[in-house]
Subunit: 143 residues, 3 copies
């Protein structure tokens, strides 16, 4: 977590564009000191006739669900700032393709999240910094 | 948004049935004056051995998640009315196939939704009517 | 419902391992007297370059979303007990593969869930026991 699921048609992204977009999304989170291995990006390729917008099959398409858990926004200003950052990633990459795209954030409480069977540490905790430094999930016993 | 994700096995729908079902779902929403391009329908084909019901691989299958954002139901009566309309679409199309299907609605708040980098207008607003008339997302500056 | 969506890379699971894992997940729920046909398990295969963790393409990967509806946990203890059971399924099967995995539970209210167009009975009700005995959804009129 976070997890971005990017449903798209085959002509929307090249393989190189997928890699580059995944890196940009990852940087968005690591800038705020989230362990890099938290960031999951999945591309879900839907070929015709498997995706419809307004009842028609689009040529290019990106329907993005951003799953956030354990991190609600502190304020409307913080939320807007984050969404503006998301747009700063998506708009320059998608608008030149002359296509439509949309996204929304699906939030879930963090108390049912586990990595490798381990409960991730609280946001901003010393243990989370340790996960970031070690670049992997570590149990308290492994410190 | 709305977004229907229809996970299914390869033998469940023909290409023509997918197109026809997507149109019926779209009409369900446009009847209540939602801009037609809001309606996303995705078919997610899962071939054996990638889907299980009760531990067994089904022949025909449709597991449907309906994502709604920004529009909660006003009352239990409104909710039942909507679900009955959903059934009026699904049941006549799926019951003759002698198969099982299920769906549920996953709701999310609307305040993190953006289309083409633009915040969609409030439900029932003049700007939303403009989006409906223009049949595309338009920023306030583009009116 | 419940619905497990297991996104994974092609080298993560063999077909036999998928079947065996789906059976283990199903048993987790049927032990607590949930009708077996409630349990849906979907494997979503994402081949490179379609999945990224920390901006890199993983070899083995399992990103699992567990959708629960209509059944919240009564207490923190009940939640921990359930998650520990989930780990007792996943950890012995995934840890030997020398890979990372994660999961979280996405909960939704149960009041928009329908199977074959029928509202599922309340948890623990006589009608639910009938569904379990009959091993299929039955309307009240069909009893």
């Amino acid at each position: 977590m976070p997890l971005w699921v990017i449903a798209h048609t085959p002509t929307t992204f090249s393989n190189e564009e997928k890699q580059e977009l995944a890196k940009a999304i990852t940087t968005l989170y690591t800038k705020v000191q989230i362990p890099v291995f938290y960031v999951n990006v999945q591309f879900l390729e839907l070929a015709p006739p498997n995706v419809y917008v307004g009842g028609d099959i689009p040529d290019k398409y990106a329907g993005i669900t951003i799953h956030h858990i354990a991190r609600a926004f502190d304020s409307d200003a913080a939320k807007k700032k984050f969404l503006d950052k998301v747009d700063s990633i998506l708009t320059p990459r998608l608008k030149p393709k002359n296509m439509n795209w949309e996204y929304f954030i699906q939030q879930a409480p963090g108390d049912t999240w586990r990595m490798n069977g381990i409960v991730p540490p609280p946001t901003g905790s010393e243990l989370e910094k340790e996960w970031l430094r070690r670049n992997k999930p570590v149990g308290e016993g492994n410190l």
